[in-house]
Amino acid sequence: MLTNLFDGVAYGMLLFVIACGLSVTLGLMNLINLAHGAFAMAGGYITVVLVNRMGVPFFAALPLAFVLSALLGLVMERTLYVHVYRKSHLEQVMFSIGLVFMAMPAVSFFLGSEQKFITVPAFLDTRYEVFGVSMGAYRLLIILVCGLLAAGLQFIVARTRFGSQLRAAVDDPMVARGLGIRVDAVFATTFAVGSGLAGLGGALGANLLGLDPTFPVKYMVYFLIVVAVGGSAGMTGPLVAAILLGIADVSGKYYLPQFGSFFIYALMIVVLLWRPQGLFARPGGR
């Protein structure tokens, strides 16, 4: 029971780190980006290449996965995404699905279509028993890293000038511009960091979520749930939504294996019926 809870929390925090960038892009630019999972996949495969092929130590590969995914995100934002902000949601959906369709065969062309595992240091394979809760070291690491990241993000968004500018731009982009906030630069930065975090999450979660070229589609709805249920008003909503989702998914699959992911989708439909704007959306929000 508690072990499930523990696993669920680890899973949920991972989803949060991957998806948190998505909530900002939606809130700030009203952009529906279904290709966000592709950046997570990129981070996973970058780590596979670095660790398995080039022998880079796992812990050195993680920051690299972040940086390279962030760079990829920045380049994509400046060259491609920048052209679709003003387009309709339908076009944004088409555009981002197109990117997913390109990313999947590209990965299987260069790296093969089979599932990949990242070689992690041996000490991460052990399990600890604490008060009868069996905790895998790897999941503990995920909770630790993702917890630190969540706290760091919360700090940046809530305490720094950049965070204030970000929140101001989400609140009212037009007035923010009129008062001298460079909304486009704030957004590009956020997009890059969001992509980097997705990449880092993809690297950390590769062995847990299963890394193969179908990754962006397989988890698309999960990332969207975090955003739609969590809202885009801050970091807390998506974090809580992600952890709830993680716990629900893990326990659902454990206690009701015959239903598979049925449970989670049904739950989501119920939640969205109850609160169409998300569980944590502020009233009158976009």
């Binding site: 000038r161 204030s164 500018q165 609140d171 009212d172 037009m174 511009r177 009129g178 906030i181």
Partner: protein
Amino acid sequence: MADILSVEHLSAGYGAAIVLGDVSISLPEGQSLALLGRNGMGKTTLLNSIIGVTRRRAGIIRFAGVDITKLRPEQRAHAGIGWVPQERNIFRSLTVEENMTAVARPGKWDIARVYTLFPRLRERRANMGNQLSGGEQQMLAVGRALVLNPRLMLLDEPTEGLAPIIVQELMAALARIVRDEGLSTIIVEQHAQKVLGVTHQAVILERGAVVYAGTSAELQQNDAILEHHLGVTGKKHA
């Protein structure tokens, strides 16, 4: 003295709607201007055009001698235009202090000075933007524009919907900024008498066109014009 702002033959609106047609105004540096007119006559659109959030059809806007027509709103703000929007538009998920730190630029106006001007804001510094009263929101909107350290302030109906006591306090603060600091200012108002005593110049807009431009002192004495353009009779040839 050189003009801080000159608007020449500006025509602008939103989407297909044209609100301003061929408007020209100018303001010498260090002076203040009351922009008057009844509701819906284009005052806010003119202000929004100066900050750059409307659709311009024709004309140019010069700021401190430089053509800023092509600049984006944030570039105009950096050039030295401070804006107090009509709806105040306080960032609701930011605290009072963050509303200012997020936009502050170095200069003689810092947050401490704004707190001296509006002590009420200091008490409320940790409150979120959406927890303020109308008067506090207005003070914050003014303070937020001040910490941009602008050379020109644009104030859109700063007293609208406020209690008389708050209006007095606000107008006193504005008078200090305009008179003692010599900050160039444009104040949009529906109620002429509230601002004519504070400002140097006055312009009346009617249906998107300038129908009066002169000094505030002159206008204050001219009941006929006040009644004609700002009163309710609406008789064109009264």
